[in-house]
């Protein structure tokens, strides 16, 4: 759906030049939910502005739905944008329009006839659970309701891709969950590709299939979540399923076991004790449902009463049970 190649965006010139995004390449597969996670200042907002052509990259290429955004003229860009939807942290609804009129906006822009707009708007407000608030103005709606209107508006023209710019960062935790579940449900029902940027790991953990981690303008890691989680060295895995700070247990050699396979229910830990006579101390860990699968990460220290054990055999034992670890 989206392919970014060697994208760099520099603001300012000369000594004051700051590269907000540096040499970023990534691929967003069609139909999934792709999360771009990073702290403020990591460059994710700039990256998304390049994906929606609100910003012109300094160099590199952005392909969205087979269109190279950097080479389009105004009219071509508008027609590509008719295939895009976007929701925002601060909603950006028009205060002068009712909920229904806000949702109708992209349809008006595309010249859809009034009767057709009416049907589509009613359908969408029903989808987002606001069928009874069609005539309300944004000022009369709560934050969650505003974002629902935003989602309905973004979906009105049946886009191929839905961009979410910190869409839940201004919402309380309960509302955040509802909005995330709604996004997930819409993604499953319509197959729209969702690209979201967020600084909240909870958002990625809850709904994303794949993700990229950004820091200092660069993509540090990128890929399907299950694949990243299975990598014991993955920073993203440690953000999503933190196992505690290793420096809190000095003197203990700890390793991280990741349970991302279908055999998560197998008693692997007691197996280590039974088969290898190892003492297993659990130092930290987390288990959660990620990308449709139950995934756990445990930080443990392994020791043998005699001080030595067969690392290769333990490794094979774990690998056979789809538990990844670096010994």
């Amino acid at each position: 759906m989206i392919t970014v190649t060697n994208l760099t965006k520099v603001y300012g010139i000369g000594d004051k030049a700051v590269a907000a995004v540096q040499d970023v390449s990534l691929h967003v597969p069609s139909g999934g939910i792709f999360g771009i996670l990073g702290r403020s200042g990591a460059g994710k907002t700039t990256l998304m502005r390049c994906l929606t052509a609100l910003e012109r990259p300094t160099s590199g290429s952005v392909m969205v739905a087979d269109a190279e955004l950097t080479s389009l003229n105004g009219a071509e860009l508008r027609s590509v944008r008719h295939r895009m939807g976007m929701i925002f942290q601060h909603f950006n609804l028009l205060n002068s329009r009712t909920a229904a009129e806000n949702v109708a906006f992209p349809l008006e822009v595309q010249g859809v006839s009034k009767p057709k707009r009416g049907t589509r708007v009613a359908e969408l407000l029903d989808l987002v659970g606001l069928a009874d608030r069609t005539q309300s103005y944004p000022s009369q709606l709560s934050g969650g309701q505003k974002q629902r209107v935003g989602i309905a508006r973004a979906l009105a023209a049946r886009p191929d891709v839905l961009f979410c710019d910190e869409a839940t960062s201004a919402l309380d935790p309960a509302t955040t969950e509802q909005i995330l579940d709604l996004l997930k449900q819409i993604n499953e029902a319509t197959g729209v590709t969702v690209v979201l940027i967020t600084h909240e790991s909870e958002v990625v953990r809850r709904i994303c299939d794949s993700a990229a981690l950004m820091a200092d303008g660069r993509v540090v890691e990128e890929g399907p979540l299950l694949q990243l989680l299975a990598d014991p060295d993955s920073q993203l895995a440690d953000i999503l399923l933190p196992t505690g700070d290793p420096t809190l247990d000095p003197g203990q050699d700890s390793i991280v076991l990741t349970f991302a396979g279908a055999h998560t229910s197998e008693p692997v830990i007691s197996g280590l004790t039974r088969h290898f006579g190892l003492d297993v101390t659990i130092l930290g860990g987390a288990v959660d449902q990620i990308a449709g699968r139950k995934v756990g990460r445990l930080r443990v220290s392994l020791s043998h009463p005699e001080g030595i054990f067969d690392h290769a055999a333990v490794h094979k034992y774990l690998a056979d049970r789809e538990v990844s670890a670096r010994l």
């Binding site: 609100l54 508008r78 944008r81 950006n92 205060n95 329009r97 822009v109 103005y137 944004p138 508006r153």
Partner: protein, 223 residues
């Protein structure tokens, strides 16, 4: 000469009010239409606008500032030959429409520009991402979103025009200003002058209240 009572002067005041309404009404319509156009142009062409254009922004800006820095009386006199060329005469209520409109267009244009500037950039970007073109953004986002500001600015402009129109009276434009000069200044008839002033105050109050009421009603709905 016998002093005229306010009751005797009343019919003449009514006639003057008619002339004022004529000058102010037409010039207001022209100012709103052209002021909006110039204001939108300034906003679009400004460095952070949708169509940044330093040449247009600077040159229109200079003309606007020039016109605004001229005292209205001077502007009116300076425009005499232009007015004569345009409407055939430089005297009377119709002729006064020309300097009134030209004097207030730059004022309202700046009001429009700053009202449009108040529209959150995020709303404009949202419309851009939805594939709206510049004209659609102006018509569907910028103008409706800034409508309360545009209306309160228009109210202010209307009050200013009423004030200017009395000056137009001073050089033969007719209207309440002309009336007040004739009775209050040339004949020292305080009673009649007081009546004219009272009527002016009531009109200005009325205009301001109606404008505020419209804006408040909008604000109530929009929050």
């Amino acid at each position: 000469m016998r002093k005229v009572s306010w009751l005797e002067a009343l019919p003449e005041l009514m006639e003057s009010l008619g002339q004022t309404a004529w000058m102010v009404g037409w010039s207001f319509l022209i100012v709103v239409a052209l002021g909006l156009a110039v204001g939108v142009l300034l906003r679009l062409a400004s460095p952070d606008g949708l169509r940044p254009n330093p040449i247009i922004y600077q040159s229109v800006g200079v003309v606007v500032n020039l016109a605004r820095s001229l005292p209205f009386l001077i502007l009116m006199i300076a425009l005499i030959s232009f007015t004569r060329w345009l409407v055939g005469t430089a005297y009377g209520a119709t002729a006064a429409i020309v300097p009134l409109a030209i004097g207030a267009i730059p004022f309202y244009a700046r009001v429009v520009e700053s009202a449009l500037r108040e529209v959150a950039p995020g709303k404009i970007e949202a419309a851009q991402v939805m594939g709206a073109n510049t004209w659609q953004i102006v018509r569907k986002v910028l103008l409706p979103e800034s409508l309360p500001g545009l209306i309160s600015g228009a109210t202010l402009t209307l009050v200013t025009l009423i004030g200017y129109s009395t000056m137009a009276g001073a050089i033969g434009g007719g209207g309440v200003g002309d009336f007040a000069i004739r009775y209050g200044y040339q004949r020292f008839n305080g009673e009649v002058l007081l009546m004219a002033v009272t009527v002016l105050i009531i009109i200005v109050q009325l205009v301001q209240s109606i404008g505020d009421a419209i804006v408040n009603r909008m604000a109530y709905r929009r929050g």
